[in-house]
Protein backbone atom coordinates (compact mmCIF):
# COMPACT_ATOMS: atom_id res chain seq x y z
CA UNK A 1 0.00 0.00 0.00
CA UNK A 2 1.41 3.35 -0.95
CA UNK A 3 1.47 6.08 1.63
CA UNK A 4 -1.13 8.76 1.16
CA UNK A 5 0.16 12.30 1.11
CA UNK A 6 -1.84 14.09 3.78
CA UNK A 7 0.29 17.21 3.84
CA UNK A 8 -1.48 20.54 3.95
CA UNK A 9 -0.03 23.79 2.64
CA UNK A 10 -1.37 26.68 4.67
CA UNK A 11 0.58 29.22 2.70
CA UNK A 12 3.38 31.53 3.79
CA UNK A 13 5.65 28.52 3.95
CA UNK A 14 3.63 26.69 6.61
CA UNK A 15 3.25 23.11 5.46
CA UNK A 16 1.81 20.55 7.86
CA UNK A 17 2.58 16.85 7.39
CA UNK A 18 -1.09 16.06 7.98
CA UNK A 19 -4.27 17.92 8.90
CA UNK A 20 -4.59 16.44 12.40
CA UNK A 21 -4.30 19.27 14.91
CA UNK A 22 -5.01 19.28 18.61
CA UNK A 23 -7.15 22.22 19.62
CA UNK A 24 -5.79 25.11 21.62
CA UNK A 25 -5.55 24.37 25.30
CA UNK A 26 -6.22 20.66 25.08
CA UNK A 27 -2.60 19.69 24.69
CA UNK A 28 -0.73 22.20 26.81
CA UNK A 29 2.47 23.10 25.06
CA UNK A 30 2.95 19.67 23.52
CA UNK A 31 5.50 18.21 25.88
CA UNK A 32 3.04 17.27 28.60
CA UNK A 33 1.54 14.39 26.63
CA UNK A 34 4.84 13.10 25.31
CA UNK A 35 4.67 10.05 27.56
CA UNK A 36 1.29 8.85 26.33
CA UNK A 37 0.99 10.11 22.75
CA UNK A 38 3.35 10.03 19.79
CA UNK A 39 3.40 13.77 19.37
CA UNK A 40 5.45 13.49 16.17
CA UNK A 41 2.49 11.94 14.37
CA UNK A 42 0.39 15.06 14.74
CA UNK A 43 0.22 17.65 12.01
CA UNK A 44 0.48 20.48 14.50
CA UNK A 45 -0.15 21.46 18.06
CA UNK A 46 -2.09 24.61 18.84
CA UNK A 47 -0.62 25.81 22.11
CA UNK A 48 -2.59 27.38 24.92
CA UNK A 49 -3.22 31.08 24.88
CA UNK A 50 0.06 32.61 25.92
CA UNK A 51 1.60 35.95 26.78
CA UNK A 52 4.90 37.61 26.03
CA UNK A 53 5.67 38.08 29.70
CA UNK A 54 4.85 35.64 32.51
CA UNK A 55 1.50 36.06 34.20
CA UNK A 56 0.27 34.32 37.33
CA UNK A 57 -3.18 33.94 35.88
CA UNK A 58 -6.49 33.53 37.62
CA UNK A 59 -7.04 32.06 41.07
CA UNK A 60 -8.49 28.60 41.36
CA UNK A 61 -10.93 27.04 40.62
CA UNK A 62 -9.78 27.26 37.03
CA UNK A 63 -11.41 24.19 35.57
CA UNK A 64 -14.84 22.68 35.73
CA UNK A 65 -16.51 19.84 33.95
CA UNK A 66 -19.36 20.59 31.59
CA UNK A 67 -21.76 18.20 29.84
CA UNK A 68 -19.68 18.56 26.68
CA UNK A 69 -16.18 18.74 28.04
CA UNK A 70 -14.19 21.05 30.27
CA UNK A 71 -14.41 24.78 30.88
CA UNK A 72 -10.92 26.11 31.47
Amino acid sequence: MTAVDLSVDLGRGLVLPNPILVASGTFGYGIEYGDVVEVDRLGAICCKGTTLKPRIGNPTPRVTETPGGMLN
Binding site: G25, V36, I56
Partner: protein, 288 residues
Protein backbone atom coordinates in the same frame (compact mmCIF):
# COMPACT_ATOMS: atom_id res chain seq x y z
CA UNK B 1 8.11 9.72 34.53
CA UNK B 2 6.84 6.26 33.82
CA UNK B 3 3.16 6.91 33.61
CA UNK B 4 1.15 4.35 31.78
CA UNK B 5 -2.34 3.75 30.56
CA UNK B 6 -3.66 0.55 32.02
CA UNK B 7 -6.89 -1.39 31.87
CA UNK B 8 -7.42 -2.23 35.52
CA UNK B 9 -9.84 -4.87 36.76
CA UNK B 10 -11.78 -4.21 39.92
CA UNK B 11 -11.03 -6.96 42.41
CA UNK B 12 -12.84 -5.76 45.50
CA UNK B 13 -15.05 -2.84 46.45
CA UNK B 14 -16.46 -2.01 49.85
CA UNK B 15 -17.84 0.90 51.80
CA UNK B 16 -15.47 1.07 54.76
CA UNK B 17 -17.08 4.15 56.33
CA UNK B 18 -20.36 5.93 55.56
CA UNK B 19 -19.88 7.30 52.05
CA UNK B 20 -16.23 6.25 51.91
CA UNK B 21 -15.08 3.44 49.68
CA UNK B 22 -12.02 1.28 49.38
CA UNK B 23 -11.50 -0.36 46.02
CA UNK B 24 -8.80 -2.76 44.89
CA UNK B 25 -7.76 -2.94 41.25
CA UNK B 26 -5.47 -5.35 39.48
CA UNK B 27 -3.00 -3.04 37.73
CA UNK B 28 0.46 -4.67 37.86
CA UNK B 29 2.34 -2.01 35.89
CA UNK B 30 1.02 0.75 38.12
CA UNK B 31 1.47 -1.27 41.32
CA UNK B 32 5.12 -1.92 40.53
CA UNK B 33 5.96 1.67 39.64
CA UNK B 34 3.96 3.65 42.22
CA UNK B 35 5.53 5.42 45.17
CA UNK B 36 3.75 6.86 48.18
CA UNK B 37 2.22 10.22 47.35
CA UNK B 38 1.50 9.50 43.71
CA UNK B 39 -1.94 9.14 42.20
CA UNK B 40 -3.88 7.60 39.33
CA UNK B 41 -6.31 9.31 36.99
CA UNK B 42 -9.33 7.09 36.39
CA UNK B 43 -11.77 7.39 33.52
CA UNK B 44 -15.42 6.76 34.13
CA UNK B 45 -17.16 4.62 31.57
CA UNK B 46 -19.92 7.19 31.27
CA UNK B 47 -19.05 9.87 28.75
CA UNK B 48 -22.43 11.56 28.90
CA UNK B 49 -21.22 14.52 30.87
CA UNK B 50 -18.20 13.00 32.57
CA UNK B 51 -15.37 13.42 30.12
CA UNK B 52 -12.81 14.24 32.79
CA UNK B 53 -10.95 11.54 34.60
CA UNK B 54 -11.02 11.45 38.41
CA UNK B 55 -7.79 11.57 40.43
CA UNK B 56 -7.27 9.12 43.31
CA UNK B 57 -4.23 8.75 45.55
CA UNK B 58 -2.61 5.36 45.41
CA UNK B 59 -3.66 4.13 48.84
CA UNK B 60 -1.64 0.92 48.78
CA UNK B 61 0.33 -0.89 46.08
CA UNK B 62 1.35 -4.54 46.27
CA UNK B 63 3.98 -5.50 43.73
CA UNK B 64 3.57 -9.23 44.42
CA UNK B 65 -0.15 -9.31 43.59
CA UNK B 66 -0.19 -6.35 41.22
CA UNK B 67 -3.04 -4.80 43.18
CA UNK B 68 -3.47 -1.15 44.04
CA UNK B 69 -6.17 0.28 46.26
CA UNK B 70 -7.88 3.64 46.18
CA UNK B 71 -9.91 5.24 48.98
CA UNK B 72 -12.46 7.92 48.19
CA UNK B 73 -15.56 9.67 49.41
CA UNK B 74 -18.62 9.94 47.20
CA UNK B 75 -18.82 13.64 46.41
CA UNK B 76 -20.51 13.71 43.02
CA UNK B 77 -21.55 11.83 39.91
CA UNK B 78 -18.04 10.66 39.10
CA UNK B 79 -17.22 9.06 42.43
CA UNK B 80 -20.76 7.69 42.61
CA UNK B 81 -20.17 5.99 39.26
CA UNK B 82 -17.16 4.16 40.64
CA UNK B 83 -19.17 2.74 43.55
CA UNK B 84 -21.48 0.98 41.11
CA UNK B 85 -18.64 -1.04 39.61
CA UNK B 86 -18.58 -4.76 40.37
CA UNK B 87 -15.60 -7.11 40.65
CA UNK B 88 -14.49 -8.03 37.17
CA UNK B 89 -15.36 -4.64 35.69
CA UNK B 90 -12.53 -2.75 34.07
CA UNK B 91 -11.57 0.88 34.28
CA UNK B 92 -8.96 2.84 32.41
CA UNK B 93 -6.24 4.14 34.70
CA UNK B 94 -3.47 6.59 33.89
CA UNK B 95 -0.58 6.55 36.30
CA UNK B 96 1.31 6.67 38.46
CA UNK B 97 1.20 10.46 38.27
CA UNK B 98 2.77 13.25 40.26
CA UNK B 99 5.79 13.34 42.50
CA UNK B 100 6.13 11.15 45.55
CA UNK B 101 7.00 11.87 49.17
CA UNK B 102 10.75 12.16 49.64
CA UNK B 103 12.06 10.48 52.77
CA UNK B 104 15.54 11.39 53.93
CA UNK B 105 17.50 8.11 54.16
CA UNK B 106 18.66 9.19 57.63
CA UNK B 107 15.16 9.62 58.99
CA UNK B 108 14.26 6.88 61.49
CA UNK B 109 11.01 8.25 62.83
CA UNK B 110 8.23 9.45 60.56
CA UNK B 111 5.21 11.38 61.75
CA UNK B 112 2.24 11.02 59.41
CA UNK B 113 -0.70 13.36 59.87
CA UNK B 114 -3.99 12.78 58.07
CA UNK B 115 -7.30 14.59 58.22
CA UNK B 116 -10.35 12.70 56.97
CA UNK B 117 -9.87 11.57 53.39
CA UNK B 118 -6.28 12.74 53.72
CA UNK B 119 -5.61 9.22 54.94
CA UNK B 120 -5.60 8.16 51.29
CA UNK B 121 -2.65 10.46 50.63
CA UNK B 122 -0.33 9.16 53.36
CA UNK B 123 -1.51 5.57 53.79
CA UNK B 124 1.05 4.07 51.41
CA UNK B 125 3.91 5.92 53.06
CA UNK B 126 3.25 3.89 56.22
CA UNK B 127 3.86 0.69 54.25
CA UNK B 128 7.03 2.03 52.65
CA UNK B 129 8.41 3.29 55.94
CA UNK B 130 7.84 -0.04 57.73
CA UNK B 131 9.40 -1.90 54.82
CA UNK B 132 12.45 0.34 55.21
CA UNK B 133 12.64 -0.25 58.96
CA UNK B 134 11.39 3.15 60.09
CA UNK B 135 9.17 3.90 63.04
CA UNK B 136 5.80 5.44 62.17
CA UNK B 137 3.27 7.34 64.22
CA UNK B 138 0.10 8.20 62.36
CA UNK B 139 -2.06 10.99 63.73
CA UNK B 140 -5.56 10.98 62.32
CA UNK B 141 -8.28 13.58 62.69
CA UNK B 142 -11.97 13.28 61.88
CA UNK B 143 -15.22 14.99 62.79
CA UNK B 144 -16.47 12.05 64.85
CA UNK B 145 -15.86 8.38 65.61
CA UNK B 146 -18.12 7.43 62.70
CA UNK B 147 -15.51 8.77 60.31
CA UNK B 148 -12.41 7.30 61.90
CA UNK B 149 -10.38 5.15 59.55
CA UNK B 150 -10.46 1.54 60.79
CA UNK B 151 -7.22 0.51 62.50
CA UNK B 152 -7.69 -2.96 61.01
CA UNK B 153 -6.80 -1.48 57.62
CA UNK B 154 -3.46 -0.19 58.88
CA UNK B 155 -0.19 -2.06 59.43
CA UNK B 156 0.23 -3.43 62.97
CA UNK B 157 3.65 -1.86 63.30
CA UNK B 158 2.51 1.76 63.42
CA UNK B 159 1.30 3.79 66.37
CA UNK B 160 -2.15 5.10 65.47
CA UNK B 161 -3.46 8.10 67.40
CA UNK B 162 -6.91 9.53 66.76
CA UNK B 163 -8.47 12.92 67.40
CA UNK B 164 -12.13 13.76 66.83
CA UNK B 165 -13.73 17.17 66.72
CA UNK B 166 -16.59 16.04 68.96
CA UNK B 167 -14.48 13.94 71.30
CA UNK B 168 -16.37 10.74 70.49
CA UNK B 169 -13.07 8.90 70.04
CA UNK B 170 -9.52 9.68 71.10
CA UNK B 171 -8.37 13.23 71.68
CA UNK B 172 -11.16 15.79 71.84
CA UNK B 173 -10.04 18.46 69.38
CA UNK B 174 -8.00 18.91 66.26
CA UNK B 175 -5.37 16.46 65.12
CA UNK B 176 -2.90 19.32 65.06
CA UNK B 177 -3.23 19.50 68.87
CA UNK B 178 -1.39 16.16 69.01
CA UNK B 179 1.61 17.27 66.98
CA UNK B 180 3.63 18.95 69.79
CA UNK B 181 3.75 15.62 71.64
CA UNK B 182 5.43 13.89 68.72
CA UNK B 183 7.36 16.48 66.76
CA UNK B 184 10.56 16.20 68.78
CA UNK B 185 10.55 12.43 68.25
CA UNK B 186 9.96 12.77 64.52
CA UNK B 187 12.73 13.25 61.99
CA UNK B 188 10.26 14.16 59.29
CA UNK B 189 6.53 14.71 58.99
CA UNK B 190 4.18 14.02 56.08
CA UNK B 191 0.62 15.23 55.90
CA UNK B 192 -2.52 15.19 53.81
CA UNK B 193 -5.88 16.68 54.63
CA UNK B 194 -7.96 19.85 54.58
CA UNK B 195 -6.05 23.00 53.67
CA UNK B 196 -6.69 24.55 57.09
CA UNK B 197 -5.07 21.57 58.77
CA UNK B 198 -2.09 21.69 56.44
CA UNK B 199 -1.65 25.42 56.99
CA UNK B 200 -1.68 24.88 60.77
CA UNK B 201 0.92 22.13 60.41
CA UNK B 202 3.06 24.40 58.25
CA UNK B 203 3.02 27.00 61.04
CA UNK B 204 3.99 24.34 63.58
CA UNK B 205 6.86 23.19 61.34
CA UNK B 206 8.03 26.76 60.99
CA UNK B 207 8.01 27.12 64.76
CA UNK B 208 10.00 23.90 65.11
CA UNK B 209 12.76 25.32 62.96
CA UNK B 210 12.99 28.29 65.27
CA UNK B 211 12.91 26.26 68.48
CA UNK B 212 15.07 23.27 67.59
CA UNK B 213 17.41 24.94 65.13
CA UNK B 214 17.47 21.82 63.00
CA UNK B 215 19.45 23.42 60.23
CA UNK B 216 22.29 24.75 62.38
CA UNK B 217 22.63 21.94 64.93
CA UNK B 218 23.07 18.19 64.45
CA UNK B 219 22.41 17.84 60.80
CA UNK B 220 24.93 18.92 58.28
CA UNK B 221 22.80 19.06 55.24
CA UNK B 222 24.24 19.84 51.88
CA UNK B 223 27.24 21.66 53.29
CA UNK B 224 25.46 24.99 53.07
CA UNK B 225 24.74 24.76 49.38
CA UNK B 226 21.03 25.09 48.89
CA UNK B 227 19.09 22.77 46.65
CA UNK B 228 16.68 24.44 44.23
CA UNK B 229 13.22 24.90 45.72
CA UNK B 230 10.91 22.16 44.56
CA UNK B 231 13.69 19.72 43.73
CA UNK B 232 13.52 16.23 45.16
CA UNK B 233 16.69 16.96 47.14
CA UNK B 234 15.21 20.09 48.71
CA UNK B 235 12.00 18.28 49.60
CA UNK B 236 13.94 15.40 51.11
CA UNK B 237 15.49 17.86 53.53
CA UNK B 238 12.20 19.44 54.53
CA UNK B 239 10.78 18.53 57.91
CA UNK B 240 7.20 18.75 56.66
CA UNK B 241 5.95 17.59 53.28
CA UNK B 242 2.30 17.99 52.38
CA UNK B 243 0.15 16.34 49.75
CA UNK B 244 -2.14 18.94 48.21
CA UNK B 245 -5.59 18.53 46.76
CA UNK B 246 -6.93 20.69 43.98
CA UNK B 247 -9.60 20.54 41.30
CA UNK B 248 -7.90 18.72 38.47
CA UNK B 249 -8.51 18.51 34.75
CA UNK B 250 -5.91 16.67 32.74
CA UNK B 251 -3.51 15.52 35.52
CA UNK B 252 -0.52 15.60 33.19
CA UNK B 253 0.33 19.29 33.42
CA UNK B 254 -1.37 20.59 30.29
CA UNK B 255 -4.49 22.41 31.47
CA UNK B 256 -2.90 24.39 34.34
CA UNK B 257 -6.12 23.98 36.30
CA UNK B 258 -4.72 22.52 39.52
CA UNK B 259 -2.23 25.17 40.56
CA UNK B 260 -1.20 26.22 44.05
CA UNK B 261 0.62 29.42 44.87
CA UNK B 262 4.21 29.28 46.08
CA UNK B 263 6.36 31.60 48.15
CA UNK B 264 8.44 32.16 45.02
CA UNK B 265 5.40 33.70 43.34
CA UNK B 266 5.17 31.14 40.55
CA UNK B 267 2.11 28.89 40.67
CA UNK B 268 2.95 25.20 40.63
CA UNK B 269 0.83 22.39 39.21
CA UNK B 270 -0.43 19.93 41.82
CA UNK B 271 -0.49 17.19 39.17
CA UNK B 272 3.04 17.65 37.94
CA UNK B 273 5.23 19.50 40.48
CA UNK B 274 3.04 18.03 43.25
CA UNK B 275 0.87 16.71 44.72
CA UNK B 276 3.63 16.56 47.33
CA UNK B 277 5.34 19.82 48.24
CA UNK B 278 7.65 20.89 51.01
CA UNK B 279 5.52 22.99 53.34
CA UNK B 280 7.88 25.95 53.00
CA UNK B 281 7.41 26.03 49.22
CA UNK B 282 3.77 27.04 49.51
CA UNK B 283 2.25 30.45 50.15
CA UNK B 284 -0.25 29.43 52.82
CA UNK B 285 -1.58 32.94 53.27
CA UNK B 286 -2.46 33.25 49.59
CA UNK B 287 -6.15 33.30 48.82
CA UNK B 288 -5.75 30.24 46.65
Amino acid sequence: MTMRLAAAELVESREILPGQWLQAYHAPTIASSSRAGQFVHARTGDFSGMVLRRPFSVNTADVATGIITIHFRVIGRGTEWFTRLRPGDQVDLLGPLGRAFEVDPRSRHLLLVAGGLGMAGVRMLADEAIRDGRGVTLLFGAASSREVYPSSLLPDEIEYVVATDDGSLGHHGFVTDLVPTYEAWADQAFACGPSGMLAALARQAEGRRGRLGVASLGRKRGGGRGDPAGSAAARRKAFLQVSMEQNMGCAVGACLGCVVQTTGGTPQRVCREGPVFAAEELAWEAAW
